[in-house]
């Protein structure tokens, strides 16, 4: 069974440029999460989806970040414009549904460097 797939693995951009990350969760997993992991820290939740509905986006900086999960499967996370402080690893995770959300399965992440 394929795990959570993310792309690209690495992205280097200049500040003020836009960037997008893509995530394909484990087949059948209704709940999808985007996390940001800064160097030396644990992942921090940005947004959580139940199917196609964003049900927790309280930590998403909405002035420059946006996300979507059309059809309740794949998801994209966008930053526009990127700032130097956005350099981090962006992790996507999925879980079967809210009742079993305890175990989240992670993708390999996208490492973003903003120059």
């Amino acid at each position: 069974e394929a795990g959570v797939v993310q792309s690209p693995r690495y992205k280097i951009i200049e500040k003020k440029q836009p960037v997008a990350f893509w995530c394909n969760p484990i087949s059948g997993h209704n709940t999808l999460y985007w996390y940001r992991q800064n160097l030396g820290q644990g992942p921090e939740l940005l947004i959580r989806y139940e199917n196609e509905e964003a049900v927790d986006d309280s930590q998403l900086p909405k002035d420059r970040f946006s996300a979507e999960r059309l059809k309740g499967v794949d998801s994209t996370l966008k930053i526009q414009p990127a700032e130097l402080g956005d350099s981090a690893v962006y992790l996507c995770a999925s879980s079967l549904d809210r009742r079993t959300a305890d175990i989240q399965y992670f993708g390999a992440g996208t490492r973003l460097s903003v120059l």
Binding site: G3, V4, G40, Q41, G42, P43, E44, L45, R48, V55, D56, L91, R98, A101, D102, I103, Q104, Y105, F106, G107, A108, G109
Partner: protein, 113 residues
């Protein structure tokens, strides 16, 4: 404010040593504590603990939860170089019908031959 603190932040050992990693937490409506191993790829799930005093074991790894002390330990015996990784502890406060995970900063373990 919910928080998870891991110690030590980093650890260097030699192959064959036994290590103990610590995780302490302060969360409302505690539901579960999870351990993940993060190498240069996806964090991989190790254990989920919900009940105090019951040890979970997988090969050379084991973990136990102490709800009274609000903490958990992860033990690795007979360490190997392949155990080198960041070990993340996450705690799930149950809120709004869903288990949100709060992560600690991780313990970076380096196992030298």
């Amino acid at each position: 404010e919910d928080k998870v603190v891991q110690s030590p932040l980093s650890l260097v050992v030699h192959e064959g040593d036994t290590v103990t990693l610590n995780c302490s937490y302060e969360v409302t409506n505690f539901r579960s504590l999870l351990w993940y191993k993060q190498e240069k790829k996806a964090p991989t799930f190790l254990f989920m603990l919900t009940s105090s005093g019951i040890e979970k074991k997988s090969g050379r790894l084991s973990s136990i939860l102490d709800k009274k002390e609000l903490s958990s330990i992860l033990n690795i015996t007979a360490t190997q170089t392949g155990d080198s990784a960041i070990y993340l502890c996450a705690v799930g406060p149950f809120s709004g019908g869903y288990n949100k995970l709060i992560f600690g900063a991780g313990t970076r373990l380096a196992v030298h031959p």
